[in-house]
């Protein structure tokens, strides 16, 4: 059976969920061979084996942390040459997309980014993508070289599929370009204790209607009652009420949770681009004409300062 190279997104050895989803898709195309790079690379093996990786190629050279992107391209290329895979799959994080794109240039392959589904086809993998703020769905394939495809979070279920997951050291020779961009300092993002926005099953977002940083406590309280992540519209982020890392939309995160609750958000096309594919959509807005209501499964026309606390209280009491 053909082997499929899977690039692993992890933090110090903890595999991030989109990579496990990617293994589910990879198994439709062949036997997944994982590539884990950087600090803690070998610690990823157990989780990867559990989800179907037949092999885990690892390297924890210091270059991966000291320089931007290119050392990882060199390593992924080394893995590509060693494995000669039928396809290279990469999670759609900002960094991994850049790594995939540079690899594609080097190996003279076409690239598809931000696939939301993948299937084996007669002429290679068929990728489903969302276009124009998710108003179109396309199916595409790569016609030149070994397909390189990046896949968005929440595109497949995480499935247990135990495999050998044997760890092998990957030998990497770094190119001259590898040391081109130095990482002078790195400040890890502080954890809020809430689920990761792109991975959460429920996302509760606030917009301009929340009207102040202090009022985001109302949104957070609802999120906590549901075990949800907190999102924000760009208007709320630009006003300085909530961090940019929580922005949902075209220039923020794109989310596709089971449930998305928008409060005080009008539903501009750029916001929809990041949440339109959520399974169930709920909105609270005092303007009955707000475009967000075109998307909802359930909408409440009303003042979020009344509706949201009442909902939170109900959710908490139903829990207890």
């Amino acid at each position: 059976m053909a082997e499929v190279l899977v690039y692993v997104d992890h933090v110090d050895g903890a595999v991030r969920k989109p990579t496990l989803e990617l293994l589910t898709l990879a198994r439709r195309l062949g036997e997944p061979v994982a590539v884990a790079l950087g600090n803690g690379a070998a610690d990823t093996a157990a989780a990867l084996a559990e989800h179907g990786a037949v092999k885990v190629l690892t390297s924890d050279a210091a270059e991966f942390a000291d320089y931007l992107v290119v050392p990882k391209v060199d390593a992924l290329q080394a893995a590509y040459e060693a494995v000669q895979p039928a396809a290279v799959l990469v999670p759609s994080s900002a960094e991994a997309k850049e790594i995939a794109a540079r690899l594609a240039v080097r190996i003279k392959s076409g690239i598809i980014t931000d696939a939301v589904d993948l299937e084996a086809g007669d002429e290679g993998p068929v990728a489903t993508q969302s276009a124009f703020a998710a108003s179109f769905t396309t199916k595409s394939r790569i016609t030149q070289g070994t397909p390189v495809i990046t896949v968005k979070p929440n595109s497949a279920a995480v499935e247990a599929a135990p495999a050998a997951g044997a760890v092998e050291a990957l030998a990497v020779t770094f190119s001259d370009a590898a040391s081109g961009t130095k990482v002078i300092a790195r400040t890890p993002r502080e954890s809020t204790g809430r689920p990761e926005l792109t991975e959460a099953a429920i996302v509760v977002s606030g917009g301009r209607g929340v009207n102040g940083a202090e009022n985001f406590a109302i949104i957070e309280a609802l999120a906590d009652s549901l075990g949800a992540a907190v999102g924000a519209s760009r208007a709320a982020v630009d006003a300085g009420w909530y961090p940019h890392s929580n922005q949902v939309g075209q220039t923020g995160k794109s989310v596709s949770p089971q449930l998305y609750i928008a409060s005080g958000i009008s539903g501009a096309i750029q916001h929809r681009a990041g949440m339109q594919t959520s399974k169930t959509i709920v909105a609270i807005n005092k303007d009955a004409e707000a475009p967000i209501f075109d998307l909802v499964d359930y909408g409440v026309v009303g003042d979020l300062f009344e509706v949201v606390p009442q909902l939170t209280e109900e959710a908490n009491s139903r829990k207890g």
Binding site: E98, A101, V105, T143, V183, T187, T280, V300
Partner: protein, 265 residues
């Protein structure tokens, strides 16, 4: 010494204008009004600020805006010129129709080399294709450092520095020129063209190049030369109309009941 900045700008269909595909499954650029991609305005803005800083320090800087696109893409160049860029290069050729990111990056790289550069600045992503990978590909093709997705950028003594806010960490980056930079929409609001800027832009030079000028063969680009193929494009079915209630003191409770029905609470 003069700092030569090339800014890559894309002409895109207006996001609020019902974007769609043509029969050959390429983005329809004729039926929908186009404009300079909003995300590339941030690139033009940072180029202007870097040039201004350079001039304050007594050196010179020159900004060339570059686009690969159809005839109408001149509008995007004019807008960037009216914001304050010095000159423009427009790569236009009928054989470019349907080019994918690999072809576009090849054309841009050749045009950038022909123009001459110390610093290339791009946007974080185009608002139509939204791939966000072209700047990294340009760096690979040009063989210069990639300093991308910056929310803060500065250039001093032949070095570019910037802050990249990633998923799990924020990084301070540094590279020597020449380099390729991309900037996010967090890098600072783009200026509006002034009346004077708009008038001045009409007299600024716009150079037109075709594939011959760049020594690129027609087979390397266009729909035929693309390394990816779109087989199908379907409009997403409209979501079925949901229930909408007006809050009469019970809105939160009604919503909770709906969420309970769907097993979220």
């Amino acid at each position: 010494m003069i700092l030569r900045i090339v800014v890559c700008v894309k002409y895109v269909p207006d996001a609020t204008g019902g974007r769609h595909f043509t029969d050959d499954l390429t983005v329809d650029r004729d039926d929908v009004d186009g404009l300079l991609s909003e995300l590339d305005e941030y690139a033009v803005e940072q180029a202007l600020q870097i040039a201004e800083e350079c001039q304050r320090a007594g050196a010179d800087a020159e900004i060339t805006v570059l686009t690969v696109g159809p005839e109408d893409a001149k509008d995007a160049l004019r807008k960037a010129l009216s914001m304050g860029a010095d000159k423009a290069v427009h790569v236009e050729d009928d054989d470019l129709h349907g080019t994918d990111v690999m072809g576009t990056s090849l054309v841009l790289a050749k045009a950038i080399e022909k123009t001459g550069y110390d610093l290339v600045i791009a946007g974080m992503a185009s608002t139509d294709g939204t791939m966000g990978v072209l700047p990294a590909i340009l760096a690979e093709r040009l063989g210069v450092p990639q300093v991308t997705l910056l929310s803060e950028v500065s250039v001093e003594d032949g070095t570019v520095k910037g802050r990249r806010d990633g998923d799990t960490a924020s990084e301070q980056l540094e590279a020597s020129l020449p380099a390729v930079v991309s900037v996010t929409d967090q890098s600072g609001e783009a200026r509006y063209p002034s009346f004077k800027g708009i008038m001045a832009a009409k007299k600024k030079p716009v150079e037109s190049l075709d594939l011959d000028d760049l020594d690129i063969e027609a087979e390397e680009v266009g729909l035929e030369g693309a390394w990816t193929k779109v087989d199908e494009a379907a409009e997403r079915p409209a979501r079925t109309a949901g229930t909408i209630v007006k809050d009469e003191d019970e809105g939160g409770k009604q919503l909770a009941a709906f969420l309970a029905e769907r097993k979220f609470v």
